[in-house]
Symmetry: C2
Subunit: 561 residues, 2 copies
């Protein structure tokens, strides 16, 4: 029993409605038990009840996306660029109400959310440029030679074509930049794919507000509303909605940012389909940092300062924050360790995103601390999980203390648990007897989004050796700096070997992200009228193409001149 | 118990030794029971005994590859291009002995093998050009801006880096172009990856001869022999060798051409590793052809001729040969069907690659014929599997007859078995009541390497509709032509949705194939001495790079001028 779509919900400009958005409209499906977001700064539920999408709504969103895909097939890249720009403008237009809702739902500070909003709209605008410029489709043309012996050479043309509807699973820790219109959704829309958002239950209001910005942009730019759907997903339905999306025949790809367990389970479902679909998961990452001996001697204090900030900013809830620090075990390292310990001990507890994230953080830090050969350097009393008398989470801020632990490279090598990510403001300092042991430890780490290296002139040989190891383990290698604060630029790689991601051949940030939602299709001896515009002789958009092995931007006739 | 490596096996120029090649030398491991290749034109085993690699040899090949990877890390692309060219020259230098061995082991005719050899060496030479030109690594540089507010912009540079040792599983049906130095092995070497070949048991001599050509080329160009290993794999060890390779910690990617069952099983193993590796499998493909009504009326006979040749050439054992033909059910289609039947019935039996391939072919054709609503139009008596009195395969040619079957689109839609590939000279003609039914049937096919469409001017609207469907199902769409005879060119896509491949975002043919063996790595604020040459300010190879969002080929200083 589903009520008729609400025409133009009058409440929507004032705040989230609590209902999923299908084809541009809320749709009430009252049989579903609502869930509520938590304000982690108070440890109390926020007032709005959110209604998870029903199976029928999931199905309808996917069908509408499939229809929309075909409707927009002939739209120009210019048109799509305009949509991305309109979305960016509409997100900005939400003004403080968006920032306030996001702050309430996540406990993240306003300054951080403003920066995240800028990153989100900046990504949309950059992708608009990429789409408008057009050559991201990697068009290639090899012309026919009917005279060739022993058999004629056919005309073969290739271009990237979008896969179809994309399901996006946003992250808890970036309610804007990796969520409803974060980099996955923005790159999928830029590539011409309809997008279906599985809303994150930790920030449903933020997600819904951004979704309305998209709905209005579709309307303003004349796109079918089937290009986008926003499905609230919390409580008992959360997991099922994810599974229904990944299994739906009209969903042709999915992007996920979250836990290794969740990402792996959904990736398995995607692969078990009769027609497996690509599933791009960004999961856990330890982001090791290496402080080489000369740098430890000459810049130890400065590095300790930088690292403390990078590890603990936003309660350590950034996917690129360093979780491991490797040093050669000597006096300089002891000084750095002491300085880090001093700094960590002076940090106040910080509000974390949600009770379950805070509890998992504390559990895992204590798990590390319980390993023989690992020493907790910060105050263990601050790591007790707060519990009310009945065992439930108590009222009050959902907060966690920063934690610093130390161990040796031999203990690190022999304990798998020390290789797993701890999501929160913790670091494990690993002391290595010598540079060879440090290189061995580097070779043993799990795949990671980033690896950082602090070195001075005398460390050059060790640095070189480490680079050759880390190139096999990390998506990005940072020299004399911290990996947090991902620069959104063309050369950025936000990806890495498993478990950082399950598809290290791609990046979630930068223009290469568009290619994830496409595959190459070749057309042999195709008549112009049946070819995608990017492959036509006249090259209407003037994009750069490979023509007979050379780069060309004009129509084919000009190339011959 | 393994004997010492043979220094320079004197027999090797005369023919295959029967032993695996590790680090440039044969190595006898006599505990393994030898297997023999079959001459399918006589149905009898060939004289040489081949010794499957031992687990210890598999392990050693992988370790040697890992060492070699690091040894060649600083070699220039020029050096690598020279290796590819030397391999191509050495393969040609094997002369008629290679062609003779391949013909004996596969039953394929000399002309076809000569063409295949040309394609193989042509691919090596093209990849050498790609490597020498250098821009395939997709280098991108975003320069720093220390003055930027609110925080400085870092220097970020990105390039594709090779993954490491690649295991290659060659195909039964292309003993040269998809085997020991086929497109997978050639693209992996071109990308800088050591290669370990799992030899195909149906053409072990061909594989070993090509392997010696590689060994000599490594020697001549000064590469470490660990860059390449050739492992004989047959009999009881065949499956285990594949599994050992895919699970080995030093194998970092694999390429496979073969059956859906084999590819899927190995892909599962690759994914189940603690550190999953990319596994690129090309598997089964039905390669549907669509004959639209005006074309059936005006060119029916010519299309019947073309299709007969494409379907049955080399006993239908080509991955791109059409296995399904869709027509609108009318008088013109009847004429085409009759013409095809007439042609199929006049074809002599052809030698197939091996008894098990022939037997599977016959079994699957008869499986199709047994589906209610499917009619076998060719002589059923010619499809009986020959058996000796004791039930074993009899002596004499391993041959199979071409088969043509007809059904309706409704039968096709309701029988999954009719959607599976039949590997051999068979085609299922699917008659559709109208163009809508044809489009629905097209939407229902499995993912495929190719789809072909014959149309005349009046078919334009139907053709357009079909293209929009087939873009979601095929890697290549062929207009008014047949899909066999893959053109090796830059724009070619040899790939497609599952089960044609498990990675439709890539192609096994053309320069994009190199990217499969790489992933992007970013370097943030890296000093020149620690960067890959492609990312250095001076751009020593003068490759095309994206610099601050623009294409540049010079050193960075020149770009600023």
């Amino acid at each position: 029993m589903t009520s008729a779509p609400t025409a133009e919900p009058p409440a929507r400009r004032k705040g989230p409605t609590g209902w999923s958005i299908l084809e541009g409209q809320t749709e009430e499906a009252p049989q579903v038990q609502p869930f509520k977001a938590i304000d982690p700064s108070r440890g109390e539920p926020l007032p709005i009840g959110y209604h998870s999408a029903t199976p029928e709504q999931v199905d309808r969103a996917c069908r509408a996306a499939w229809v929309a895909l075909h409707e927009v097939r002939r739209r120009s890249p210019e048109h799509r660029a305009g949509l991305l720009e309109a979305i960016a403008a509409n997100i900005l237009e939400l003004g403080p109400s968006l920032i306030n809702v996001a702050a309430q739902e996540t406990g993240l500070p306003e300054q951080r959310l403003l920066a995240e909003r800028e990153r989100t709209t900046g990504t949309l605008l950059r992708f608009a440029e990429v789409v408008r410029e057009g050559s991201w489709v990697r068009a290639a043309i090899d012309r026919a030679d009917p005279e060739r012996q022993p058999r004629p050479k056919p005309d073969v043309r290739r271009v990237l074509r979008s896969l179809g509807p994309v399901a996006v699973f946003g992250a808890s820790n970036f309610p804007l930049a990796y969520s409803t219109m974060g980099t996955d959704a923005a790159s999928a829309l830029a590539a011409g794919c309809p997008v279906i958002i599985k809303g994150h239950p930790l920030h449903p209001g933020t997600g819904e507000l951004v979704a309305w910005a998209v709905v209005d942009a579709l309307q303003a730019t004349g796109f079918p509303q089937g290009m986008f759907a926003f499905l609230h997903a919390g409580g008992q339905r959360e997991k099922a909605i994810g599974e229904e999306l990944v299994k739906h025949p009209f969903v042709r790809a999915a992007g996920f940012t979250g836990s290794q367990a969740g990402g792996t389970a959904l990736a398995d479902l995607a692969r078990a389909r009769p027609d497996p679909i690509p599933f791009f998961a960004e999961m856990g990452s330890t982001n090791p940092a290496f402080l080489l001996p000369s740098a430890a001697a000459s810049q130890g204090e400065a590095v300790a300062h930088l690292l403390t900030e990078s590890i603990t900013a936003f309660a350590g809830q950034q996917c690129t924050r360093p979780g491991l620090l490797f040093m050669i075990d000597n006096e300089d390292a002891s000084k750095v360790l002491n300085e880090l310990t001093r700094r960590f001990n002076t940090l106040p507890d910080q509000v974390m995103l949600a009770p379950r994230i805070r509890d998992a953080y504390l559990r895992r830090v204590l798990g590390w601390a319980g390993v023989e050969g690992v020493e907790l350097k910060t105050d263990p009393k601050r790591l007790a999980t707060p519990r009310a008398k009945d065992g439930s989470a108590p009222k009050g801020p959902v907060s966690g203390a920063a934690a610093l632990l130390r161990t040796t490279s031999s203990t690190f090598l022999s304990n798998d648990t020390l290789h797993d990510e701890v999501f929160g403001p913790a670091v494990l300092v690993v002391l290595c007897p010598d540079e060879r042991a440090m290189a061995n430890a580097a070779a043993s780490i799990q795949g990671t989004l980033t690896a950082s290296m602090f070195f001075a002139a005398d460390d050059r040989n060790t640095a070189r050796r480490l680079v050759s190891v880390l190139e096999h383990r990390a998506g990005r290698i940072v020299f004399n700096g911290v990996p947090t604060g991902v620069e959104v630029c063309e050369a950025m790689v936000h990806g890495g070997p498993f478990p950082a991601t399950n598809r290290p051949d791609t990046t979630a940030v930068g223009p290469l992200a568009l290619e994830r939602w496409c595959r190459p299709v070749a057309y042999q001896n195709g008549p112009g009228a049946l070819l995608p515009p990017e492959l036509r002789d006249d090259n209407p958009a003037g994009i750069r193409r490979r023509v007979d092995g050379k780069w060309r931007s004009g129509p084919l006739s000009d190339d011959e001149a």
